[in-house]
Symmetry: C2
Subunit: 337 residues, 2 copies
């Protein structure tokens, strides 16, 4: 049976209220009593009991991060950014994995609401069907990261996905690709649809027709990447350039292409979204759209904590820049390593 605040109060010969004041670092307690309380806390090994505290004060110093796929290194980097920033400011971070699944996501948002976290950083599984009502009802602020929500105007941190998709596609065209394909993410996510829109825009700008057969829709996960890549290879006129909308699907594509003995970049020039540590170790090294994942997490945490503090009345959208890092997998001219 752990010690309660009353036990501490009894041992220090003060009232529970005084103990509470000391514990919450308030200045209006005499040094004598403060020391006595602290000693008692120490003796008893007292630890404040979270649920009671948040029941009474309706606040915690825990922020939640609900990510759409924790096995995706992009999101783990992003989470690290949130963690470091929040912790610097005295908040702790708990993480939940929605696994690109609306039902799981809903459940975790409910838990976040029920557990009364101070705020939530969310990368929504769907721009239209994800609902943050549970949180809104309780006045818990939400910042979306990576993706946005169309159903509510929330603070958000994203990269310019449209432009990134356009530039990556343009790069493939410049390398002489005539049939550039894309493995796109779910169009219900803003990243999925914007990167695809960027791809289309680049083709239009170059005066190329958009061949629907070259657009493979997948799920941002390894399994989907497999199927999509295989489908593209089965085409009578297979692509000679390929843009893949995230890192997990890129891993899958690399496996399929390697099994099928496709020569990269000669047969197929490749660009993948999300840079990673192993991209450089591949042969050829992978051309990637590098996103500032860690920094996105930092920014999201900053926005969220401002919101928690009640600063900033209006929704704020931070757009960072994704950078095309050109490496061997897309270089046909060969004038660069």
């Amino acid at each position: 049976m752990p010690a309660s605040i009353r036990d501490v109060a009894a041992r220090a010969n003060v009232s529970p209220a005084t103990v509470s004041r000391v514990l919450n670092g308030r200045e209006d307690v005499s040094t004598v009593l403060r020391d006595r309380v602290l000693a008692a806390v120490d003796d008893l090994g007292y630890r404040p009991y979270g649920p009671a505290r948040s029941l009474r004060s309706r606040a915690t110093t825990v922020v939640g991060v609900v990510v759409s796929d924790l096995t995706n290194p992009f999101f783990t980097s992003m989470v690290r950014g949130v963690e470091d920033t929040a912790q610097q400011r005295g908040y702790s971070v708990i993480i939940a994995n929605a696994d690109e699944d609306l039902a799981k996501e809903k459940r975790y948002l409910e838990i976040a609401a029920a557990e009364q976290v101070a705020g939530v950083v969310l990368s929504p599984a769907s721009s239209t069907r994800t609902s943050i009502d549970v949180l809104a009802e309780r006045g818990i602020p939400v910042v979306t990261v990576d993706r946005r929500l169309r159903t509510a105007d929330l603070d958000s941190v994203t990269v310019n996905n449209h432009r990134a998709g356009r530039e990556a596609t343009q790069h493939l065209l410049e390398q002489g690709c005539r049939r550039v394909a894309i493995i796109a993410g779910p169009t219900q996510t803003t990243t999925g649809s914007l990167r695809l829109a960027g791809y289309r825009a680049a083709l239009h700008a170059a005066g190329c027709a958009v061949d629907p057969a070259l657009i493979a829709l997948a799920d941002f996960r390894i399994e989907g990447g497999y199927e999509a890549t295989k489908a593209l290879l089965r085409l009578r006129r297979p692509p000679d350039g390929l843009l893949i909308s995230n890192n997990l699907m890129t891993i899958a594509a690399l496996e399929v292409l390697s099994t099928a003995d496709i020569n990269i970049p000669a047969d197929l020039a490749l660009v993948g979204f999300d840079d990673s540590r192993w991209a450089k170790a591949l042969r050829p090294p992978l051309t990637a759209v590098a996103q500032p994942a860690y920094q996105m997490g930092e920014e999201a945490a900053l926005l969220l904590l401002d919101r928690v503090r009640g600063a900033r009345p209006n929704p704020c959208h931070v757009t960072l820049t994704a950078q095309l890092v050109i490496r061997g997998s897309s270089l046909r001219a060969g004038h660069l390593a």
Copy 2:
């Protein structure tokens, strides 16, 4: 202002007690009242308030996972195993990232205790300095995974690290390596020290001397892997075989080796702990000690939930098997792809 149980009670014309009974799925409520309550819950959009509930009932259906490094894919797979298993059984999972840092780990264990989670799955940052006292005081069960604790006899799920280290080293020796080096993890972790011990055992068994210069101690992270690899390459007599104790350090080593133009496996045969999706896509593909990460998470969750239910009086240790997957990075004979 969200609806409380009293509001629901009022609207359904019943007592709060009845609402509580319905919400907790108890059978002793008449169908009439149950329906009225459910309707009222629906109308009001009522959601039970976690802190009040756990304050009163001293229990939650949330389990915590405190991992030592969330950016490590091994741990994210493991977490997925915990999640799936726990969710099947009606528990939710929240995750905290200790980042191989004892202070952060301590903090998260305190939060887990304060928030009154049902139990904790932990991969401890240190086998001797990690303390689970905060949780033990409150009677919250803990299962360690991947690593063990020397300070308490807890349920644990591990692989046979000693044997895996031995077999991997033996494999390198069989490939004709004469100077096999290791990049070991922190010896304060059981995985770090056991894999190293396995390496030593293999050398002894083969009648080779253990050259201390060939043992590089690092931190299980990318940065440490860089330094360790560079240090090994600077040796007057550099290694011709290398075992790396986890995936993050392997990524770092691959980068360094690729920059230094070391030929794998001719100059240096390579084996890394932890298999991954991109291992096959590398050229040459990476020989890896594959750990059943997901399954480890599943087992850990099973043990933990048993413990939560109060089953099983004695600590239980599950040891799974790590499998050496031989690929091109370590094959010198060349009779395999």
